[in-house]
């Protein structure tokens, strides 16, 4: 696959992408100088309440009855629709496909999928400029997919659409529309594949672009259960392409990227939008279940520096074991109320104050969970404190490794992404602080609003490229 080639249609979306690159990722749509940080932050907090998958699922329009599998409701929906369709569908499908190929763009629906260890991230493009006659010709199951995805914010028990992240008024391959961001647990993958089979997804002849480990793990299942062929894509390629793309188009007129001003002072630490004007080189730290750290030198030139197994999965896993919580949201809520210094041994707990010989502050953590060596303290510790300590331990460790990598690679800009950072201001602020403090201001931590979705966006972009792939021709 030639990554350097822009396969997007030259006169529309490609302009954005190419120009974006040339202009240092300043999207033409972006109102420059806008201090839209708060506007972007607003929805991200608002979205939290209704998208909590573990909560008793009442905030969606889905029928959700019984609700074992997360896509159960969609199965019914699609099955009903399918019964109304016979051979006319086939005709219109062919026509639509011919048209797409003529215009050098893939047939709808356009998806990109990133199947991670814990979460599946799905991006879906909803065209909003469909001409009336095309809409009439549109096959019913395609329509039903669109309706189902765009009119709901939750799917089954555990699927969620991050409404606040929706990218509106995008122009891609000559079509205008919105990019939707949906996630569900990887555990529900088989229900998802079953849904694909039940609604005869394979008849749409769309290419399913998938990245993440699950693209490999579930490839066989997609094929045998749903007759779907995956286009497997490397997750790091996708991550970088997706990130650069989203940054270039901006976040509905606001910058995608932000940082914290005064990270070392909790009182005056504020989130501030910024532009990734000249993003290279950057150290990209992707915190999913585990952590990958990449040094990115240009759009196509990057290396994976290292990784650590102490990531989001570790935080959640340990929290579940220690506190009995069941979801990421629950764990974070507890952590927000807790105090890690009841769990961790600080320098001052050992030395009575600063360890001056080595310039260590008394408030620095000397031993994570160090107080828990004592039985009395174990017996009286609260779940909230344990959750907070787990979060702080994992976050600081990632910060420490990232900082060392940045120094070793001589890169001073560290971009943190991944779903561990979702609704997790404790960690983002802590990372910002750690980068700033331990490097004496040399390193800068940057964050992105669509934290966990770049892999899926990257896969989605590959779909648009793949349309001129000869394998795809009928």
């Amino acid at each position: 696959m030639d990554k350097g080639k822009c396969a997007l249609e030259p006169k529309s979306a490609a302009v954005h992408y190419a120009n974006g690159l040339q202009n240092g990722f300043c999207s033409p749509q972006r109102s420059s100088g806008s201090s839209g940080g708060s506007a972007a932050a607003g929805p991200s907090v608002a979205g939290l309440g209704c998208s909590s998958p573990g909560s008793s699922c009442s905030c969606s329009g889905s029928s959700g009855g019984g609700g074992h599998g997360c896509f159960e409701s969609l199965h019914h929906h699609v099955l009903q629709e399918q019964q109304h369709n016979g051979s006319p569908a086939k005709r219109s499908r062919l026509r639509r496909r011919t048209e797409s190929v003529r215009k050098n763009r893939p047939p709808f629906p356009w998806f990109g999928m990133d199947i991670g260890g814990t979460l599946v991230k799905l991006v879906y493009f909803e065209p909003k400029d469909t001409p009336a006659e095309e809409e009439q010709e549109e096959v019913e199951n395609l329509k039903s997919i669109r309706k189902y995805l765009t009119s709901n914010v939750a799917y089954g028990n555990t699927g969620v659409r991050d409404v606040h992240l929706e990218l509106k008024e995008l122009s891609i391959c000559g079509r205008r529309g919105s990019l939707h961001f949906i996630r569900f647990p990887t555990q529900a993958m088989h229900s998802f594949i079953q849904m694909g089979r039940d609604k005869n997804f394979s008849s749409l002849h769309t290419t399913l672009c998938a990245t993440g480990g699950g693209a490999y793990k579930f490839e066989e299942d997609f094929r045998t259960m749903a007759d779907l062929q995956l286009l497997k894509l490397d997750e790091l390629d996708c991550l970088i392409q997706g990130l650069l793309y989203v940054d270039s188009v901006g976040f509905n007129g606001h910058p995608e990227c932000y940082f914290f001003e005064n990270p070392s002072d909790p009182e005056s630490c504020v989130k501030w939008p910024c532009c990734l004007d000249n993003p290279f080189p950057m150290l990209l730290v992707n915190i999913g279940s585990g952590v990958s750290i990449l040094a990115v030198y240009s759009k196509d030139d990057y290396k994976r520096v290292t990784g650590t197994s102490l990531g989001g999965g570790t935080f959640l896993g340990l929290c579940c074991l220690l506190t009995g919580c069941e979801t990421f949201e629950e764990a974070l809520e507890m952590a927000a109320k807790g105090d890690s210094t009841n769990v961790d041994k600080l320098v001052k707990d050992i030395y009575g104050g600063d360890y001056e010989r080595f310039g260590l502050q008394g408030s620095a953590v000397a031993s994570s969970f160090g107080h828990m060596m004592s039985k009395e303290k174990r017996d009286s510790i609260s779940k909230e404190d344990l959750a907070r300590a787990t979060l702080v331990t994992i976050t600081n460790n990632i910060g420490s490794i990232a900082r060392m990598c940045a120094v070793n690679e001589k890169i001073d800009r560290v971009v943190f992404v991944g779903n561990f950072l979702r609704i997790n201001t404790i960690s983002t602020k802590l990372l910002a602080y750690a980068m700033d403090f331990w490097s004496k201001g040399q390193l800068k931590a940057l964050f992105l609003e669509h934290e966990g979705y770049f892999g899926a966006v990257g896969a989605f972009l590959e779909l648009l490229k793949s349309s001129d792939d000869p394998r795809d021709d009928p």
Partner: protein, 752 residues
């Protein structure tokens, strides 16, 4: 009487907790001074300096100007008391601290000591107790400074201090040679947290980083997850667990490997990742294992990042997380290998647990400048690696309870490398590493065990007039036998097990029970006899043609080693022709000769050979042992012998007078030879005289050790193999001759 009663009571109370009589643990307390203590989370390490009075054999020449009568011995042997300095280090569990302090108080005679240096986290906690019990003022020293000082000390003074741990190799412990320059290095101390210290010189070190995820995290988090209280129990749980049921592996995400990145399927993608997504219960063992991997990998990764940033390849690990636990050494090693792709090796230290105590002691002894001396590990008084590890040696644990000891003798001389070593950093004295060669180990351990009766008899016979010789000899037998048994179970106890270390351990044990020189009388008699033939031998050599004489001289060197000389050429290793050709060329500038046995060997073998060299115009430096070992000629004996020979032989006399023949001490008391630990004075002489030939003779020095030693000048290694097993191993028979003449590549080129 009141004193006795008190002592008895103390002993009673100690017997409940300590299985070994404490006077075998806190030895030489009578003369102890300069105390230091390092109190950690669970172990206390006590250090003190003491003097040991022990017997040494002295030889003294008679006044030869007086008329000599037939049958008078050549010299007089006397056993004298000598006082040497020794460092004692004792490690025990904190629970015994009070009884131990009581015992020390009762036995402290020396009242000069007023201060005890203290370090470690527990030093605060026990400050009052120590001050009350010992009536010493507790003087706190910085933990990290002590650690580094201790680390420098053991790296410099204890050969085979550092090792690489390889769980699945033939020998788990692969010991490292003492590098002549120990700096710079990285020390990763894993206590409750992790400190990463870069050490550049004795006084220059810097904490370049650290992590809060350390031993305390393993312990604290482990206790929460498994409801297991003790650190050791957690490790035992971990060693039985399967981490893959708790961790999310690459194959759990990918279904296999992530091959484009070279990440194998078994790699951990997310520690504890499965406990977030699975509702099942996890076993304590599995969680403990997962936690151990998580922490070890994390520390290993940070260590690598720091090693790379500071461009350091020597990385030592210590702290209670490591302390003798095979399971943590294994996971750390694995992690380091993974993250550096083998570029950096994780190194561990045999005496890691003592570093703080050693350092605190050294801080207190700074006015004596202990670093100006060389020190040697006393095998007789040291417990050895893993002595208290229940995993590795249940027998040992039952025997010595939870006490571990290290004793170090102050050596009379400072020891340095032979300046003629081609590559001091890769020099390995020993020819066979018995830790790695199980067959050879079995043979030699049995061999030394079988020889023990003879050694005991010899020891008793050497002291007909001294009291309790038989009892002491029996104690020696028990001690050495116990050492041999320990080495059977733990060949790695004192570093690489070698024939040399077995011999040295025996000498240390003999010394401990005051048998300083069991061979003194035998040597004296043999020297006497041989001297009588010296002139005859020289005369008959003079009659030979040059070529015949050269061969006869070499035979003399070899025959001194063995009675029934009959080996026909070609010998097992035969470079005689090359040697003869060389002799036809220009004389050597100076020859350094490491001598071996007393009697015929030195007098009728070495001296005629030396005489010939002198006649050729070659200066000769004769290096002999500083202290006795078997029937090897010691420096003081050799001085007397040389005087006597000089009186008979004008060549030798002139050479002595003109300083063409010099006697030096090797600095060693071993039948073997470690060219990396030689008397500093010897090294100076060797350099000053532009030594261009080294002669090493005898099994111990030329076969068991140095057989493969590479020198940057010409060398002769000669011996008769007087052990059929070894001869067979080398492809020959008993009494096979090794005559190895080596010319370094460089000078060979110059000649042509």
């Amino acid at each position: 009487m009141a004193d006795c009663a008190r002592k008895g009571r103390t002993r009673d109370s100690m017997d409940k907790s300590i299985t070994l009589p404490p006077d075998e643990i806190f030895r030489n307390l009578e003369n102890a001074k300069r105390f230091a203590i390092d109190i950690g989370g669970s172990l206390t390490k006590l250090a003190y300096y003491s003097t040991v009075q022990h017997k040494v054999a002295k030889v003294r020449s008679f006044d030869h100007t007086a008329k000599e009568t037939e049958g008078d011995p050549l010299y007089e042997i006397s056993v004298q008391e000598e006082i040497t300095a020794r460092l004692h280090f004792i490690k025990f569990e904190n629970t015994y601290i009070e009884t131990c302090l009581d015992f020390i108080k009762d036995h402290l005679v020396n009242t000069e000591t007023k201060v005890i240096k203290a370090t470690g986290g527990g030093a605060y906690k026990f400050k009052e107790l120590i001050e009350k019990k010992l009536r010493l003022k507790v003087d706190k020293e910085d933990e990290m400074t002590c650690l580094i000082k201790g680390c420098n000390f053991v790296l410099r003074n204890i050969p085979h201090e550092a090792f690489v741990y390889a769980k699945h190799a033939d020998s788990e412990f692969r010991f490292q040679n003492t590098h002549p320059d120990i700096f710079p290095y990285l020390l990763i101390n894993i206590g409750s947290g992790v400190s990463i210290v870069k050490v550049e010189s004795e006084d220059k070190f810097e904490r370049i980083g650290g992590s809060s995820i350390g031993g305390g995290t393993f312990w604290g988090l482990g206790a929460l997850l498994t409801k297991t209280k003790r650190f050791d129990e957690l490790l035992q749980l971990a060693s039985r667990g399967q981490h893959s049921s708790v961790d999310m592996l690459v194959k759990d995400i990918y279904g296999g490997a992530y091959s484009s990145l070279g990440l194998t399927g078994d790699l951990i993608a997310s520690s504890f990742g499965k406990s977030a997504t699975t509702d099942k219960e996890f076993s304590k063992e599995d969680m403990a294992k997962s936690l151990l991997h998580m922490i070890s990998n994390d520390i290993g990764q940070l260590a690598c990042l720091y090693a790379r940033l500071h461009n350091l390849s020597r990385v030592y690990f210590g702290g209670f997380f490591i302390r003798g636990h095979p399971v943590t050494m294994h996971t750390i090693t694995y992690s380091i290998n993974f993250f550096t792709k083998g570029e950096v090796q994780a190194l561990f230290l045999r005496h890691e647990g003592y570093l703080g105590a050693i350092g605190a002691f050294l801080k207190g002894a700074e006015e004596d400048n202990p670093n100006q001396y060389s020190w040697g590990e006393n095998y007789a008084g040291s417990s050895g690696l893993m002595s208290v590890s229940p995993d590795l040696n249940p027998m040992q644990r039952a025997r010595s309870g939870t006490f571990d000891m290290l004793e170090m003798d102050r050596l009379e001389r400072q020891l340095v490398n032979l300046p003629l070593l081609q590559d001091p950093s890769s020099y390995v004295p020993d020819t066979v590493d018995l830790t790695e060669d199980a067959l050879a180990r079995e043979y030699w351990l049995s061999c030394f065990e079988d020889a023990l009766d003879g050694v005991v008899k010899r020891a008793v016979a050497s002291q007909p007039d001294l009291p309790q010789a038989a009892e002491r000899a029996e104690k020696f037998r028990q001690k050495y036998l116990h050492k041999l048994q320990t080495l059977r179970h733990q060949p790695f106890a004192y570093g690489s097990l070698t024939v040399r270390s077995l011999l040295d351990t025996r000498e240390h044990c003999l010394n401990e029970f005051n048998f300083p020189d069991p061979y003194s009388k035998v040597k004296q008699k043999e020297n006497d006899v041989a001297l009588k033939y010296f002139q005859k031998v020289v005369m008959s050599l003079e009659k030979l043609s040059w070529e015949q004489r050269q061969f006869a001289l070499v035979k003399g060197l070899l025959a001194g080693n063995v009675f029934d000389w009959g080996a026909k050429r070609p010998w097992l290793v035969d470079c005689y022709n090359e040697w003869l050709e060389r002799l036809k060329g220009p004389p050597h500038k100076c020859a350094l000769f490491f001598v071996d046995n007393s009697g015929i060997d030195i007098i009728l073998g070495v001296f005629p050979f030396v005489r010939e060299l002198l006649c050729r115009g070659t200066e000769v430096v004769l290096a002999s042992n500083s202290g006795p070992a078997l029937n090897d000629v010691t420096n003081s004996e050799l001085q007397i012998l040389t005087e006597r020979i000089a009186a008979m032989d004008s060549v030798i006399q002139t050479a002595l007078k003109e300083d063409k023949l010099t006697l030096v001490q090797s600095g060693s008391s071993s039948p073997c030879l470690d060219l990396s630990r030689l008397d500093k004075a010897l090294a100076t002489v060797v350099l000053e005289r532009h030594t261009d030939l080294v002669v090493i003779e005898g099994m111990g020095r030329a076969i068991h050790t140095n057989y493969y030693a590479m020198l940057n000048c010409e060398s002769l290694k000669l011996a008769v193999i007087k052990n059929s097993w070894l001869a067979e191993r080398l492809g020959g028979k008993i009494f096979s001759v090794v005559f190895k003449y080596e010319v370094p590549f460089k000078s060979q080129e110059l000649k042509q």
